[in-house]
């Protein structure tokens, strides 16, 4: 019995064979040789160290980390299962296969539960190469999966950071821009008031354009601020009764409804898990648009909801001017407008805000429409929010 490690190896093959570095924990030299022979016979190019105790094992691990550990269950100075503790302590992910005399099924299963990768009988060594191959394969897959998960986590992190930066930028930019803009808007208007008609007509036009432009910039910045605020306030989600929210929206739109003679109806709407303020914004925006983009007839607007798969699907349908299909996506983009400012007022931010809100809530929003024949804006809200499940678990 040698106390230091002994190297055994095979040299004679010409064809390239999978190299395998094994660390044997075995006190019987013959048994060790049999193990190596079994591996060589199956085509491995084996380099094996043999040790009998913990100290030697640890030294060998550090000197030449093996790809696999093959340990006898019972040794005079040690127990094969304790190799697992050493491996754990050293932070090494190396499969350990017990190569031992009969142990009984219960003990074998126990060993595997405790972390041994496999258990091979000394008089069944023919199984050993396959066992090793399987163990190495599993390890490789484990490592690949781990790598992929790490990469994903990193990407998600970067994306979250980038998004946060953008939102902060949008918020700061629009917030800090308001002050100098206020000055420009105020003084161009004062100039316009004081000097219109007192200089030449070019001046009148210039002053007019300047002050209009400044005022429009103010509204744009306010809209941008509102857009960037979606999701910033971090209000909690809860049960939102969409009927109540729709009614509130109609109250806010009271004067628009009266002016246009609009008739707004809604079916029985569900209670959903969402941010109440944001849902109110969505309903008010969509209904408001339905009223605004009306044709010659008074607007007729209908708000409905139905269950589709795992979602509530809402629709806000109108008899207004409609939208040509080629524009169906671009209308949801920030500041995209399809009409001149003189035809229909607004900056084109309402739908972008709706989209942001709905998507943050885990839903989708789209429009079904043809130019000249009304529109139906549809959006989905998941039946159960993730927070809702946690709430239910807690109560």
């Amino acid at each position: 019995m040698s106390s230091a490690g002994t190297q055994l190896g095979k040299q004679d093959s010409a064809k390239p064979e999978p190299k395998l570095r094994a660390l044997l924990v075995e006190d019987n030299a013959l048994d060790a040789a049999l193990v190596v022979r079994a591996l060589c016979k199956d085509g491995f190019d084996v380099t094996a160290d043999v040790v009998q105790d913990e100290a030697a094992f640890t030294r060998a691990l550090r000197a030449h980390p093996p790809e696999v550990v093959l340990a006898d269950y019972n040794l005079p100075n040690w127990k094969g299962m304790e190799t697992l503790d050493v491996l754990r302590r050293e932070g090494l992910d190396i499969p350990m296969i017990l190569v031992s005399g009969a142990l009984g099924d219960v003990t074998a299963v126990e060993c595997i539960k405790r972390g041994a990768t496999d258990y091979v009988l000394k008089d069944g060594l023919a199984r050993l190469p396959e066992s090793i191959r399987r163990a190495l394969q599993e390890k490789l897959q484990r490592q690949l999966r781990h790598q992929v998960e790490e990469d994903l986590a990193q990407k998600v992190d970067e994306l979250a950071r980038s998004n946060a930066d953008l939102e902060q930028f949008a918020y700061i930019a629009s917030h800090d821009l308001q002050e100098p803009l206020r000055m420009v808007a105020a003084y161009t208007q004062l100039l316009a008031e004081r000097y219109t008609g007192k200089l030449d007509e070019h001046a009148d036009k210039f002053l007019g354009y300047a002050s209009e432009g400044a005022v429009r910039m103010q509204v744009l910045i306010q809209d941008l601020l509102a857009f960037s605020r979606v999701g910033r306030n971090g209000a909690a989600r809860g049960n939102v009764d969409c009927n109540a929210v729709t009614e509130e929206g109609l109250q806010s739109l009271a004067s628009a409804i009266q002016e246009s003679g609009a008739v707004v109806t809604h079916g029985k709407l569900p209670v959903v898990w969402a941010d109440r303020t944001q849902m109110a914004q969505v309903f008010q925006n969509l209904i408001g648009n339905a009223i605004k983009f009306r044709g010659k007839e008074p607007p007729a607007v209908s708000v409905q909801a139905e269950k589709v798969d795992q979602h509530w699907q809402f629709s806000v349908s109108d008899n207004g001017i409609g939208i040509a299909p080629e524009f169906a996506e671009s209308i949801f983009v920030v500041f995209q407008r399809l009409h001149a400012r003189t035809e229909y007022p607004g900056n084109g931010i309402g739908l972008a805000i709706c989209k942001k809100i709905i998507e943050r809530n885990g839903g989708k929003i789209w429009v079904e429409s043809q130019a000249g024949s009304g529109s139906s804006f549809k959006f989905t809200i998941p039946l159960h929010g993730p927070d809702e499940k946690k709430e239910e678990e807690r109560t």
Binding site: Q178, E179, R182, M183, A185, A186, Y187, L190, V215, Q222
Partner: protein, 145 residues
């Protein structure tokens, strides 16, 4: 005793002070309008120090919050700390609509809080409203000698 009204505007933006002056002219406000650009100067003015030895005591102070050197809330606190200045009505006039700024202003003794509107028409209305109330109907503590 009818003496000329004295208004002190504390605002670091001369353009904003200009707007206030323009608005007050349109209200036919006929009193004096003084302005200072930071909190330290504001205290010097109110306490008649340095070049402000002969400054008149204001009947009303219109105070912005965002000021260099010493901010609006600090000026307010200093005014309310002394026996002399604490009766002078203070209108906070600021673009901030943050709840904590509003509440803090009241806690420190501001008489009222008016948001500076973004558009010109509303801005002029706000100034007009301030002028009409404080110089039209409110009883202001008489100036000490």
């Amino acid at each position: 005793m009818k003496t000329e009204r004295e208004l002190l505007i504390v605002d670091d933006n001369p353009a904003d002070v200009g707007l206030a002056r323009e608005a007050l002219t349109r209200c036919a406000y006929s009193g004096q309008i003084r302005s200072v650009g930071d909190g330290v100067e504001a205290m010097a003015f109110l306490e008649h120090r340095g070049k402000y030895t002969n400054a008149a005591r204001p009947d009303l102070v219109i105070l912005d919050l965002n000021l260099p050197k010493k901010d609006g809330l600090a000026v307010l606190a200093a005014m309310r700390a002394g026996p002399d200045l604490r009766r002078i009505p203070v209108v906070i006039f600021s673009t901030s609509q943050l709840s904590r700024d509003i509440v803090r202003s009241y806690e420190l003794g501001a008489n009222c809080y008016v948001s500076k509107p973004g558009n010109l028409k509303d801005y002029f209305s706000a100034i007009k409203s301030i002028e009409e109330f404080w110089f039209g109907f409110a009883s202001l503590p008489q100036r000490g000698v």
